[in-house]
C-alpha cells in the first residue's frame, strides 16, 4: 500500500471508528437485543436438548452462535446508515473534490464495522461463557470465533455500503434489516439441520448460507476443531465480503462523480 493510500485509509478509518463509538444508540441495541434473545431462547428451548441427536446438552452453548449472526446484521444498517448520512449531508460530494481513491473510502468506512464487530464478539462471548456456555475449542477457539465474527460483520457491512451507495436512501438501508432477519430465521438458528422436520423448511435452511455460518461458530463451541466447518464458514463470509466490496465499488463509481 502506498503512503498516500495508507494516509487516506487511516484518516477515514479514524473518522469511521470515532463515529461508531460516539453513537451509543447504534451500539447498545446491537449488544443488548441479541443477548436478550439468547437469554429467552436458551431458557425457552432448553428442552430441545432432549431430542434424540441434539449435539449438546446445553442449549445455551448451541444458541450462543446466533448473537454473532444477529450482531453482524446490525452492521448492515450501521455501515449503510453512516455512508448514507455522508451522501445526504454532502460530505461525499466534498470528498469527490479531493484525490481520494475509492478503495480508501470503502476500506476506511468499514473500520467502524470492524470495531463494532470486535466489540460485539467479545461481549457475546464473555456473557455467554459467564452464563455457562461451553467452548470446546478453548482459548484459541475463542480467538477464532472473534476473527470469524468480525469477518462476518464486515462482510455484511459491505452489503449495507452497497445499498446506501446504490440508492442514496436511508430508508432503503433500514429496510434491508428485516430482509436479513428472514435469512436468519429461515436457517438452522433454533435447531440443527438434521433435526428440522418440515421438508420445505429443511430445504430452505440447507440452501441458506447463514446455516453454515452458524455451524462454523457452533463447531468451535460444541465440537472443538472441525476444519471443514470452519473453512466453509470463513469461505462464505469472505465470498460475501468480496461480492459486497465489488458491488459497493461499482456503486461508488456512479455515486462519486468527479467534478
Amino acid at each position: 500500500m502506498s503512503g498516500g493510500l495508507r494516509t487516506q485509509v487511516g484518516q477515514l478509518a479514524h473518522r469511521s471508528v470515532l463515529r461508531t463509538l460516539r453513537q451509543p444508540a447504534q451500539i447498545v441495541p446491537a449488544l443488548i437485543f441479541p443477548l436478550f434473545l439468547l437469554a429467552v431462547n436458551s431458557g425457552g428451548l432448553k428442552d430441545a436438548t432432549n431430542l434424540p441427536g441434539f449435539p449438546t446438552d446445553s442449549y445455551l452453548t448451541f444458541a450462543l452462535a446466533v448473537p454473532f449472526m444477529q450482531g453482524a446484521l446490525f452492521s448492515v444498517v450501521t455501515a449503510g446508515t453512516d455512508i448514507d448520512r455522508d451522501i445526504e449531508t454532502g460530505f461525499l460530494n466534498r470528498l469527490a473534490l479531493t484525490p481520494l481513491r475509492g478503495a480508501a473510502l470503502l476500506s476506511g468506512l468499514l473500520a467502524g464495522a470492524v470495531v463494532l464487530g470486535l466489540l460485539q464478539a467479545v461481549t457475546y462471548l464473555v456473557v455467554g461463557l459467564t452464563a455457562g456456555a461451553d467452548l470446546a475449542a478453548g482459548f484459541a477457539g475463542a480467538l477464532t470465533i472473534v476473527v470469524l465474527s468480525v469477518t462476518v460483520t464486515v462482510a455484511f457491512g459491505t452489503v449495507g455500503l452497497f445499498a446506501a451507495l446504490r440508492t442514496g436512501s436511508g430508508e432503503a438501508v433500514q429496510s434491508l434489516f428485516p430482509v436479513f432477519f428472514v435469512f436468519l430465521f429461515l436457517s438452522s438458528m433454533a435447531l440443527p439441520l438434521d433435526l428440522i422436520q418440515s421438508d420445505w423448511f429443511h430445504a430452505i435452511a440447507s440452501a441458506n448460507p447463514v446455516s453454515y455460518l452458524l455451524q462454523a461458530f457452533r463447531s468451535l463451541l460444541i465440537e472443538g476443531w472441525n476444519l471443514g466447518e470452519l473453512a466453509l464458514g470463513f469461505g462464505i463470509a469472505l465470498t460475501i465480503l468480496a461480492l459486497g466490496m465489488y458491488a459497493a465499488a461499482g456503486a461508488l463509481k456512479t455515486r462519486l462523480v468527479r467534478t
Binding site: F36, G43, K46, D47, N50, L51, L195
Partner: protein, 261 residues
C-alpha cells in the same frame, strides 16, 4: 339559521378510523410489513421448530402449528396496536394530529378512532394469517364458540397495545418514540411461554413467565384452539383489566398532548 351541531364522539371516531384505515390500505409500506411479518414468524416458528413437539412432556394434541399460531395471532394483535401508535406519532410530527385536536369537540373520539383503525388492521392480518395457517395444515379442535373466545382475546390484546402505544405517542409526539412503544411489547411477548408450555420451562424464564400476564392469555388461547379451555377466568380478568388500565394511560397522554397544543 342555527349553528351546525358539533360532531359527536362516534362521528369523530369513524372519521379518524377511516383516514387511518385508508392510509394503511393504500400505502404498501404500511400494509406489507403488517401482513408479512406475522406470516414470517409463523412460518419460521411452526416450520423450523416443529420437532419441539417431540420433546418429552410436550403435550399439545392439536399440534405444534396450532400451538405457534396462537402466539403469532396474539403477537400480530399487539404489533397492530404498536404500529397504530407509530401512525399517531407521525400525525403529531406532521401536525395533522394538532389539527384533529383543534377540530374535534370530543377528543376521546380521536383515540377511539385510532383504536378502531388498529382493530381493522388486525382483522386484515388475522384473516390472512388464519388462511395461511389452514393451508399449512393447522389442526383446529376448538368449537366455534371457543374460536370466538380465541379471537376475542386477540381483540383485547390489540386494544391494550393500541392504548399503550397511543399513550406513548401522545406524550413523545415524535416517531423517535417508536422503540419505546415497541420494545416493552416485544419483551413481554417473548417472556411468555413462546416455544413450549409453561410446565416445560424452568429457571428464571419459568419464574418470569409465571407472573407475565401474557402467559394467561396465551394459555387460554391455546386451550381454546385445542377445544380444552383452560385458565379462562384469569385470562378474561387480565384481558379486561389491561385495556382499562392502558386507556387511562392513553387519556393521560391525550391530556399532555392537549396541554402541549
Amino acid at each position: 339559521m342555527s349553528a351546525p351541531r358539533p360532531a359527536g364522539l362516534r362521528t369523530i371516531a369513524l372519521a379518524v378510523a377511516w383516514r387511518s384505515i385508508h392510509n394503511f390500505l393504500t400505502n404498501p409500506a404500511f400494509l406489507v410489513p403488517a401482513i408479512v411479518f406475522p406470516l414470517f414468524f409463523f412460518v419460521s416458528f411452526a416450520g423450523g421448530l416443529s420437532a419441539i413437539a417431540n420433546v418429552p412432556g410436550f403435550d399439545f394434541p392439536t399440534g405444534y402449528t396450532a400451538f405457534q399460531f396462537v402466539f403469532v395471532l396474539l403477537q400480530s394483535a399487539a404489533f397492530g396496536g404498536v404500529f397504530t401508535g407509530f401512525g399517531i406519532a407521525r400525525d403529531f410530527e406532521t401536525g395533522f394530529a394538532q389539527r384533529y385536536l383543534l377540530a374535534a369537540s370530543s377528543r376521546g373520539g380521536i383515540v377511539a378512532g385510532y383504536a378502531l383503525a388498529a382493530l381493522a388492521r388486525a382483522f386484515i392480518t388475522w384473516t390472512v394469517l388464519t388462511a395461511i395457517a389452514l393451508v399449512f395444515g393447522m389442526n383446529v379442535d376448538g368449537s366455534g364458540v371457543e374460536l370466538i373466545g380465541l379471537y376475542g382475546l386477540a381483540v383485547l390484546v390489540n386494544l391494550t397495545a393500541t392504548m399503550w402505544a397511543a399513550g406513548v405517542a401522545m406524550r413523545v409526539r415524535s416517531i423517535q418514540g417508536g422503540p419505546l412503544m415497541q420494545l416493552p411489547v416485544f419483551l413481554i411477548l417473548f417472556l411468555a411461554p413462546v416455544y413450549v408450555p409453561l410446565s416445560l420451562l424452568s429457571g428464571w424464564i419459568h419464574a418470569v413467565a409465571s407472573v407475565n400476564p401474557i402467559t394467561a392469555l396465551l394459555e387460554a388461547g391455546r386451550g381454546f384452539i385445542s377445544g380444552d379451555p383452560t385458565v379462562i377466568a384469569l385470562a378474561l380478568t387480565v384481558g379486561a383489566t389491561l385495556p382499562v388500565l392502558f386507556a387511562l394511560w392513553a387519556r393521560g397522554g391525550l391530556r399532555r398532548a392537549e396541554a402541549a397544543g
